[in-house]
Symmetry: C2
Subunit: 382 residues, 2 copies
């Protein structure tokens, strides 16, 4: 261990999203083509002269390019991984140049189903291509090209973000030196797909969905999106964490013999659903859950996950959380085994944390110490 | 052990539901009153002269009074616990007189929200009282009165049915000699309530719900009920069982890049949801999930479950299944501990079964052998 001299962790401060326009067509795994598109992104820290200190932070279902810091005109809007990324934080922006990007198909500025299709003058809606993790990584690679980044010091993510960090090592093995894979699975289980399917059915059977072209009708399938988010929230938390946080606590101290809110957990879920349905796009929700379902690098190799990583050259940090029942540690160990079968350099940590899948977003001290130590080593090797 | 001479197990054969009308008002825990009501029930086997061999089989969320046998005009319609109950079966109808009853609030013949309120000439709909497990047991006790049954040899059930078997020992300790409690919990966890809440929100936010009075509008909140059932199904199966049964198998062998059915699990869930929404009443679904939420015998005793069973005198068979994540074995052990704290006679079995919560309905040999042995002992003591 080298002596540490970390500054007191602080925020990267006020940040501004940037937009790049890409006019080269993006061909999707589905065969569909997007002739041109925008990507919205943010960066934190400074790219060094060798351009060797770039880190890509990939987002999961509900987040986007706003990974760290806040907006000058909206200081409450703090990045989703702000506890992880900043000066003196585990991913230290005084050492690394960190990029967050809203993926294609998103609803926070990058081209997605709600964007206007220049060919028709109307929102893409149902005509937007079904996008895969591989497609996202392709688009991220083009962003790296434009920023002059030949190789990432690290690509990192939790959950669906971790799948992108994995896909980088498969699709662009020469352009990623470290892959940080948190709370991941090598592919969804039937149960995982089942939850996604119920969420999608909630959206697509909402009378306001209009086959995905609700924009033109001036409505939003809010009911469906709200239910989708409520279902999602249940799977993000462990049973124990939910019991700890809400238990059977009653809103008014007594049961009401009705179907309105009695229990605090009901109030919490409704509130989360309401909030989410006000800002998230339903078509994006469909696309992202489908990308989750489809990600399956082993499928092209006779279900042999080890073969999927045959070309990978990165070093890996894989971390899972004991109480995560959505992507349990067993699933991370499948990844670790496949990497070790390829004699790749893997650090694996199974972190005893009570919070369930959401733990990857929280600042558990052991988890953050692990990521900090790993990035210290990356920095030492720059 | 006494030597066994079981006949080859067979069906109870063709059965006919019966209806009893009750004109004494039923007062609910909510304070509401039903002036009169019907209960639909079935019986199998023969009540002995001493009336000491009666067994009540209590239903859970999706079932009713049709517990065993079939209908002469619908032979495919087999009772939900037919593998358990019949001549030579674990609960042997050559020895026991078994009763199944559709609970008040149900939608299979007993008075429920879809029944016509004699005061208004219209379906009860939203005006039907919110019913509790305690209320159901009160109504079951009145049925027992009418059938001349002073004391049940056993009351048995799985899941919500098991809660009724528990409540009998609390509410009518002198009228139950054995309580068979399968796949149970002493009260729902926050996560359990959360799943119920999403299901209810799916129903009540369906535009066809009309505040619960959809009957008058000639519609049914089918979309919501379908989603509720899909969510339920996920929680009835273990992750492993779902993986074993469906895995990531594709309907057509290849992914379609759309939001229609790709995976077999999607097809299964949609089919289950569609079927259910055609025959089940949405208001009944709300009532039954609320009864689940509210059941909490410890609440009246400062959350001390042992105190809740202070008056109980029955013997207990408690059984749980290792892969049941809805009501895990941990929850059954809470019940067992509370019973043992009262020095009650408890047999507990934690059965290594892969099927999840649904295991209580399946004919796992160890599970059935256990119930058979327990009922042999009950019979020996008659």
């Amino acid at each position: 261990m080298t002596p540490r001299d970390h500054a007191k962790p602080r925020s990267v401060g006020a940040v501004k999203p940037q937009t790049l326009h890409f006019s080269e067509p993006l061909r999707f795994r589905s065969g569909s083509v997007l002739d041109s598109y925008d990507l919205v992104y943010e960066t934190y820290g400074t790219l060094n002269a060798e351009k060797s200190n770039a880190v890509l932070a990939c987002h999961a279902l509900n987040a986007a390019h706003h990974v760290a810091g806040y907006y000058a005109d909206d200081v409450e809007n703090v990045g989703w991984w702000d506890n992880m990324i900043g000066p003196g934080k585990p991913v230290d922006t005084e050492k690394f140049f960190v990029i967050g990007v809203n993926n294609v198909g998103g609803c926070f500025g990058s081209t997605g189903p709600g964007s206007v299709n220049p060919k028709t003058g109307k929102p893409y809606g149902s005509s937007f291509p079904v996008v895969t993790v591989e497609d996202w990584v392709d688009a991220q690679a083009r962003l790296a090209d434009r920023l002059g980044i030949d190789s990432f010091a690290a690509v990192m993510g939790g959950s669906l973000g971790a799948m992108q960090a994995l896909q980088w090592t498969i699709g662009y093995p020469g352009r990623i030196r470290n892959s940080i894979v948190v709370a991941a699975a090598p592919r969804l289980s039937a149960q995982n797909i089942a939850f996604n399917e119920v969420a999608r059915q909630a959206i697509t059977t909402d009378p306001d969905f209009h086959g995905g072209d609700y924009y033109e009708h001036g409505v939003v399938p809010r009911r469906g999106l709200r239910l989708a988010r409520m279902i999602g929230h249940i799977t993000y938390l462990s049973d124990d964490a939910m019991m700890e946080k809400f238990g059977r606590a009653l809103r008014t101290g007594t049961i009401g013999f009705h179907f309105d809110v009695d229990f605090e957990i009901e109030s919490y879920l409704r509130h989360q659903g309401d909030k989410f349905s006000e800002y998230f796009d339903a078509n994006t929700y469909l696309l992202i859950t489908r990308a989750l379902d489809y990600f399956d690098p082993a499928a092209a190799h006779g279900d042999d996950l080890a073969k999927a990583f045959a070309a990978a050259r990165a070093r890996f940090l894989v971390a899972s959380f004991t109480s995560d029942w959505r992507f349990s540690p067993v699933r991370s160990r499948e990844i670790v085994k496949a990497l070790l079968d390829n004699r790749l350099d893997v650090s694996y940590a199974e972190i005893d944390a009570p919070h369930g899948h959401d733990a990857f977003l929280l600042d558990d001290p052991r988890y953050h110490a692990l990521v900090r130590a790993y990035f210290d080593n990356i920095y030492a090797a720059l």
